[in-house]
Symmetry: none
Subunit: 261 residues, 2 copies
């Protein structure tokens, strides 16, 4: 990636997007953790993990922003590379931790049986980690051939996870209460929808998209996809947890918790 191909406008647009990414992730984290005690004890694990995902992502957006700023000198009115490389790999470090966790938060909020929870968490979380690990060598490789090989390898667990989300969790959705069935469905399609962005962007350098506009599109796109897959997705998980908590409260005939969500 040649950072000097960016205009000043593009460079600062990306910088602002990273700052926005950090602010969203940090705010989402505080929201989930501050509201933790408002859901029933059964759902607190899911809500805590939802906040962990955004916390880890927030840390990485801060690091990415710092790395971006140190990669260029803009004091002359144009973008001049300082020589310090922009560390794109922070994204992989982030995903290695957050992607398995966000699949686990979805499984936890569904409250399946203990054996199913452990089985699905292990399989989906493991496949997600494998997907990220297989993407990394291609991302840092200098040749298009290697990039393509690791894209193909990484797509195997990717397709497996999407298949499991669409088909494997289908019967489990049927067992969810009516008031959250639709939300669980939306949460699943949010994951799948936002994820489709990553393998497409990964191929950009292979088809010659490498200039300032392409770099800007990739970084903005990653940021939007991360916000949707972690913070927006997390809000759905939280609302599902809150509604299911309310059902528990109604059953036990005590006063309902927060009602207006």
């Amino acid at each position: 990636m040649d950072i000097a191909t960016l205009s000043i406008g593009q460079f600062s647009f990306v910088q602002n997007a990273f700052s926005f990414g950090f602010a969203v992730m940090a705010a989402a984290t505080l929201f989930f953790w501050l509201m933790k005690s408002e859901v029933a004890p059964e759902y607190r694990l899911a809500v805590v993990i939802t906040g962990l995902v955004t916390a880890v992502a927030g840390y990485h957006y801060f690091q990415i922003m710092t790395s971006w700023v140190s990669a260029a000198d803009t004091s002359t009115g144009v973008v001049v590379a300082t020589g310090v490389p922009f560390n794109q790999a922070y994204r992989y470090v982030d995903w290695l931790l957050t992607v398995p966790l966000l699949l686990i938060e979805l499984i936890l909020v569904m409250r399946l049986s203990r054996s199913e929870t452990i089985k699905k968490s292990t399989m989906l979380g493991g496949a997600a980690a494998l997907m990220i690990i297989l993407g990394y060598p291609g991302e840092v490789s200098q040749t298009g051939g290697l990039r393509f090989v690791f894209w193909v390898l990484s797509m195997i667990p990717f397709v497996y996870i999407v298949y499991q989300l669409v088909v494997g969790l289908k019967s489990s959705i049927e067992s969810q209460p009516e008031s959250v069935k639709n939300l669980v469905n939306i949460a699943i399609y949010l994951v799948i929808g936002s994820w489709l962005f990553y393998p497409i962007v990964y191929l950009f350098p292979l088809v010659g998209l490498t200039g300032g506009a392409a770099i800007t599109a990739v970084e903005i796109g990653y940021t939007i996809a991360d916000i949707v897959a972690k913070a927006v997705f997390g809000v759905f998980i939280f609302v599902i947890a809150l509604r299911k908590s309310k059902l528990i409260n109604e059953k036990s005939e005590t006063a309902p918790a927060t009602e207006n969500v």
Copy 2:
């Protein structure tokens, strides 16, 4: 250690691993402390200490990462030593505090009698501190002979601890409830398994493994071993505490806490 023997790829891979180590430790800490109130009061001490171990480790990973970055200049496209030495000794400072604590967290979650808890914590914690203290002079020594002498000295408490974990805690495992017996066993073998890495790596410089690939292997290996011995181990301690809390709740016929873990 000559940092200039590393390629740019190796240098940034290690840097990313340190950042990953920090993120994992920080996330694990927040997780344990946020979930503290979800376990029975009897187990909160174990869970708080579990988070202390990862908090201290997180601090040290941040320091190690900072030291690593300041040891090299990568702005010319190759790794050039700045002359500031990479402070490997942060690891010993970390272990001196975290290794006794992580043995104590294991003893605490087993809830032995008060006298046994104090006796085992003192002996295992003391042996662990002695093991780290004896390793340090060898790590900073410039001669292979001294390194080997302190390796042998440090292995005495090491072997004692492993023996105590395998044999000394065996009878105590028998008294654990059925639903956690297996988890306690796994936790013990996680400690032993991850610990085996340290004495092997310590000998690397003695057998001539000192180039870029060896440095990379050592730092990545230490990071993985630390994550397993502290964060992954901590999750097992937490799940043991959660399951045992549930048993207490069931006995007192109140509503069960989180069930699906």
